[in-house]
Amino acid sequence: MSAEPVTGAATAETLRDEVAARVRDGQRFAGLSAGLTPDGVDLTALLAHDGTVEPLDVRLPPMATRFASLTPLVPAAFWYERAIRDLFGLEPYGHPRPDPLLLPLEDPSAPLPRPGKPGMPDDLPPDEFALPRVVTGPGLFTIPHGPVRSGVFESVEYLVETPGEDIPRLQIRLFGKHRGIEKRFEGMTPYDAVLLAERVEGIASVAHALAFAHAVERLAGAAVPRPAALVRVLHAELERVANHLDVALKLSDAAGLAVATARFGTHKERVLRLVGALCGSRFGRGVVVPGGVTAMPRLAPIEILDRLDRLQAAVEGDARALMATPSFLDRLRGTGRLDGALARSHGALGPVGRASGFHADARVERPYDAYPHLAMTPLPPRAAGDAMDRLKVRWDEVGQSFHLIRQVVQELRESPGDGTCAAPVHVEDGRALGWAEAPQGEVLYLLRVRQGRVTRCDPRSASFHNLVLLHEVFNGDILTDFPFIEASFGLSVAGAAR
């Protein structure tokens, strides 16, 4: 990835047409980002194709108040443009529903965060009434869920709009958890910022740290030492196993399977304890630094392998039992179906995409760290697009992760290296992309650095990209299916609302 814009579009209209044409040609829309620079606002569309992610830029004049919405031609831009509107005050004209998403404000003239602009704005308390909550009309009513949920969940508000006999519509209100993370990155050194990246989406700490570190390493031209690259994969795959077990336990819980819930809870606890024993954090925090890792694992390879054997046997036994429990399968089959064509045009990430026959995997498309030299067992094809296939994909991936972890630990055992954990990193000014495959799907960081400090960082989580698809998957009884559909997506509100 070069440090400066690869392709420039003259206007937002030409950018829109270019992106639409490329998506028609099969390129994957991977995000839309904005950033304030001294010369105006840069609007950057990210397109994944042929083993790369290509940024397409257009620079809007400093006084710009609006831009041509991509959404009518590229529906996947729906949330991205609403987020840009909130943070920059730029109106995406032509957008079908340009409601606030991250930051509804009572006073539209308040100085907005405008990431990329130096300085921290004053407190911006969102106004929950600045966003229409109840849609009214004949036979129309709205059922709210949240933002305080019934149980230990992340806060988010789902509004179910039921227009008479039609299929209900869902509105997702994210702003309760908006933390202003993007502004917080600015001014940090890469070594501090990687710790913040871990907290953008805490259940995918390792993947976010990796995506951030990869962007820094690209700017620095740094090569991660082999043992460090192996340790990175070890933690990234354990994170995947923990997340997939979390989904299994939430689905079991939704189905009222108390023993299964307890069993998967115990297995997940064992994974977190293993991670804790390896590095001192149950979430693998503090492991990844720009240039490598902070330390080698605190457990001997033989001990890791021993724990893995027991864990894998227990997990696989219970997974088999779960997938042979008819009352459970009845709840998943056909539930929350995501159409394959939609998954493709949206560029649905991670297990959500894979269960609908669309495979985007950063480990395969653009392998990093130790992945290029590791064997990844091929996943069986899945395409039903329902909660059932999403769970099957997760079990496939758990098996794949165990296989990867074993290879990594074997190699660490045979060639532990000379103890060098990280390469020196001298960051050049410029812009770079970094990515990693989180349990939720591809994480993409767009990073700008000047004089050793972050000037702009846009952490695009798979949760943000995929969560909007919840709008599209209700085909049955919305109220009773909802817990299954939500759990089967396996996303995090924190990563989406950042």
Binding site: E154, S155, G180, Y191, E269
Partner: protein
């Protein structure tokens, strides 16, 4: 094999904490300590290594570390093992924000702590048997919820202690809040607290909930939940481990003391506990 039998396969996995020590908890790196020794000129400025400004130097020239700001990145220990060390153990919850600062300060106000303890004791007296907790996420990164949820798994099995999570604020005795205090959750959090029967006990769970952690300062958070509602118990950690959460909940209920070992008397506990002179928050 039916699920009922699968459930019996591994026998008892449940911790016996707090009745018995738990080896996992006792070995867990639950905080950072300042190594007590005379400061010297060669100390330099170790406060600069900390990403959250948790380390400061008091007027007396001694280093202090605010566990309410610490995210346990381990950098200070790595850079200056002569000045900082990893604290083993999970009993890190405290009744006062100030006493999260280590090491203890000579002007630590024992009287105030006694008052806090008494006041809390009055409020929880009625609920020693069966306790219901309402959790609210006020801007967490998502990891805190995993650790709260873990308390329900068979390893911690919080139900054995007569503690339950409830969906209804009307039946809740304790409000457990996670997250940096996102401004968008201020109103929903206030509504939840108002719907709870009075008096309420409030636990701020996690370094984010205490100070905002790495997310602070931000235009979108209150740098912790302490500015949004009065907090009774502070549980540090990024995120706090399930054992630390358990310690915080039991401390709120008066079933356990502060400090790092069980079974201490209040007096010994007060002496052993650490304290400092810095008050957090913009309030």
């Amino acid at each position: 094999m039916p699920w009922v039998l699968r459930g019996l396969r591994e026998g008892v996995v449940t911790t016996r904490y707090p009745a018995r020590p738990d080896p996992e908890a006792d070995a867990w790196p639950g905080g950072i300590d300042v190594v007590e020794r005379e400061s010297t000129a060669s100390d330099g400025e170790p406060e600069n290594v900390c990403p959250t400004a948790a380390i400061s130097r008091g007027d007396d020239g001694r280093l202090r570390l605010d566990r309410g700001r610490c995210v346990l990145c381990g950098r200070c220990v790595q850079a200056r093992p002569d000045l900082f060390s990893v604290h083993r153990g999970t009993e890190t919850a405290r009744l006062s924000r100030r006493t999260l600062v280590v090491p203890e300060s000579p002007d630590d106000d024992d009287e105030e702590l006694g008052r806090l303890r008494e006041d809390l004791g009055r409020r929880v007296r009625a609920l020693r048997r069966s306790v219901h907790i309402r959790h609210v996420d006020a801007g967490s990164d998502g990891s805190d919820e995993w650790e709260v949820l873990a308390l329900g798994n068979p390893v911690y099995d919080i139900h054995r202690l007569g503690i339950f999570f409830t969906a209804s604020p009307r039946h809740a005795d304790v409000l457990l809040v996670t997250g940096a205090g996102s401004l968008g959750m201020a109103e929903p959090l206030a509504r939840t607290r108002e719907a709870m029967p009075q008096p309420t006990v409030v636990i701020a769970a996690g370094t984010d909930a205490i100070s905002g952690g790495l997310v602070s300062p931000s235009y979108a958070t209150a740098d912790g939940v302490g500015r949004m509602l009065p907090v009774d118990v502070w549980v540090p950690g990024s995120p706090p481990s399930p054992f630390s959460l358990l310690h915080g909940i039991l401390l709120a209920l008066g079933r356990i003391g502060e400090g790092d070992r069980r079974g201490r008397t209040d007096e010994a506990d007060r002496r052993g506990r650490t304290g400092g002179g810095r008050q957090e928050g913009r309030a």
